[in-house]
C-alpha cells in the first residue's frame, strides 16, 4: 500500500465516494485521502483508491470523554487494518450524553477541566493501544462559553499532548472560528498552542450562517486567510506531515476539491 513519504508534506483531501473517478484521474495532485466513513459495500472504486493513495483513518471512532465500548474499539481496529493509516485521528469533543439519550451530532468541545483532561488521556491511550498506531487529536471550536473552565483550550491541549505523547491535528478553520468568536486574531489565539506537536493540518472555507449570525465551517475552498495561517503554522511545526482539505459531502464538486488542493499546494510552493 502507498504511504506518505518522510521529509515531505503531503497535500490531500477527504475521500468523497461520488468523486472516486475524478480523484483517481487527478494524478499526482492529491497526495493522500482521509476516510471519514468506511467504504460502502457496493463502492467498486474503493480497491483502486486504496491501491493508489495513502489513507488516513479519520472516522468517528467514539468520543474520548468516555470509555469506548468493546464494539467501538473492535471497529477502530478493523478500520485501521483496512486503511493501514500512518496515524489515526479523533477529536476533542463530547457531543452525546452518557446515557446516549441525547446527541448534538456535531462537533462540540468538552469543558476544559482537570476531570475531562484525565478522561481524554485515559481513553486516548486505550484507543491508541488498540489500533496499534499513533493517535492524533483534532481541536474543536466553541461558539459560546460556560463559566466553569479550569484552563484555556491551549493549556488543555498542551497538557494532553505532553502527557500522552499523541500528535496534534490542527484544524485551522476551527481555530479561525474560535479566535473570531473570542474577539482576537488567529495567530494571537494560536500563540499558546503546542504547534511543535502538529502532525496534520486541516484547511477549508468558512461561510456566514443564518442561525449563528456569523461565520462557520463550510465545505468550500480555503480562503487566503486560512492558507496564510497554514503557512505560518507550518513554519512552527517541525513534525508536520500532511495538509488535508477538510470537506466531505454528497454535494461537493470535483471542481471545489481540485481547486482547493491546487490552492493549498500553491501556498506551500508545491505546484
Amino acid at each position: 500500500m502507498p504511504s506518505i513519504l518522510e521529509g515531505r508534506i503531503s497535500i490531500g483531501a477527504f475521500y468523497n465516494p461520488h468523486l472516486a473517478g475524478e480523484l483517481l484521474r487527478a494524478g499526482e495532485l492529491i497526495g493522500h485521502l482521509a476516510m471519514a466513513d468506511p467504504p460502502a459495500v457496493d463502492d467498486a472504486a474503493f480497491p483502486y483508491i486504496r491501491d493508489r493513495f495513502p489513507l488516513l483513518l479519520h472516522d468517528y471512532l467514539g468520543q474520548l470523554s468516555d470509555p469506548l465500548s468493546p464494539h467501538a474499539l473492535d471497529r477502530a481496529r478493523q478500520l485501521q487494518d483496512l486503511y493501514r493509516s500512518p496515524w489515526v485521528a479523533e477529536h476533542f469533543q463530547c457531543l452525546h450524553t452518557q446515557d446516549h439519550e441525547r446527541t448534538l451530532d456535531y462537533v462540540f468541545p468538552p469543558l476544559y477541566t482537570e476531570e475531562f483532561l484525565q478522561r481524554f488521556e485515559a481513553n486516548a491511550r486505550v484507543l491508541r493501544d488498540t489500533v496499534g498506531a499513533p493517535l492524533v487529536m483534532e481541536n474543536i471550536p466553541g461558539f459560546f462559553s460556560l463559566e466553569h473552565a479550569q484552563m484555556s483550550e491551549a493549556e488543555f491541549l498542551r497538557r494532553f499532548f505532553d502527557d500522552t505523547g499523541c500528535g496534534f491535528l490542527l484544524d485551522l478553520p476551527h481555530v479561525w472560528l474560535a479566535a473570531h468568536y473570542s474577539g482576537i486574531g488567529a495567530q494571537e489565539y494560536l500563540k499558546a498552542f503546542p504547534l511543535e506537536k502538529v502532525v496534520e493540518l486541516h484547511v477549508a472555507g468558512v461561510e456566514l450562517d443564518r442561525d449563528l449570525e456569523g461565520p462557520w465551517i463550510a465545505p468550500t475552498a480555503p480562503p487566503g486567510d486560512i492558507l496564510d495561517l497554514a503557512l505560518w503554522v507550518a513554519e512552527r511545526a517541525p513534525k508536520l506531515r500532511a495538509v488535508t482539505f477538510d470537506a466531505f459531502s454528497p454535494s461537493l464538486t470535483e471542481e471545489t476539491v481540485l481547486r482547493s488542493v491546487v490552492a493549498t499546494r500553491r501556498a506551500f510552493g508545491l505546484n
Binding site: 463530547c94 446515557d99 446516549h100 446527541t103 451530532d105 477541566t113 476531570e115 462559553s145 449563528l212 449570525e213
Partner: protein, 251 residues
Amino acid sequence: MPKPESSKSDRDLQDEVIRYLADARARKKSSAELPLSPEQAQKAEKFGRFLARRYYRDRLARSFRYSRMFSSAIGRTAEQVVDGEFFQDFLNECVMGSLEAAQRVGQMAVMHMSNVLEPGVWWEELLAYEQAFFLQAATAEAEPRTDIPRRGRSAVSCAFRWNLPEILTRLKSAQNIGNDLKKDVLLLFSRTAGGNIYVVEMEGSSELIWRHTDGARNVDQIASAVSLPVKTVQDTLQALSQIGAVVLPPR
C-alpha cells in the same frame, strides 16, 4: 476561573449542556441551572437552532436521496423544508433527535415533495419509503430498558403496492420503471443503537410475530397469539433485535 462548589461531576454538567442545546423547550425555560451568563445563553440559543437545522438538513438529504434525482424536473428537494417558514416554529419547540421531531419533519418533507407534477405513479410510494427511512436516520434516542419484548422506538413496517427495493435499483441505474414492478411488499424499517439502518422485506411468520410484538405480550403470549412454537418466536425476535426492530429484556 474558580470552579463553583458542586457535587456534580464535570461530565454530568456537560450532559446538562448537551440536553439544553438539544431541547428547544428547555432553552425557553431558563439557563439558571447552568453556568451561563445571559449573553452566553443567547449564543447557546443560536447554536442550538444551528445544530437542529443542520441535523435535519443532513438527515433529509441522506434519506430523500432517490426523490432528489428528480430535483431539476420538479424544482424541489426535501431538505428545502429546513429553510422554510414552518421550520422556524419547529426550531422553537423541537427536541433534536427525538422520534416526535423526526415524525414532524418527515411529514413536512413529504408535504413539500407531494405537491408537484409526479415523475411516475409510484412517486407517492417512493416518498413514503423515504419518510420511513428518514424516521430511522433522524431518531437518535436510546432505547429504554424493557421487561417485555417491544418494538424499537422508530421501527415501522410499511405496506407498498410497488416493489420499492427494485424501483430503487432501477432509479440508481437510470432504468425505466414499468408496471412489471407492481407488487405488494411489506418492508420493515429499523435502526440499531449503533445507528445502522435496515430495510428488510417481511413475510410469513416474521410478519406475524412483528405484528404481535406490541409491548404488552411476553414471548409465550406472542407464540400463543400467532400459533407458532416458542422457539420459533424466540429466534425471530432475536433476529429482529439484531436489526433494532425489537427490543428484548436483558438476559
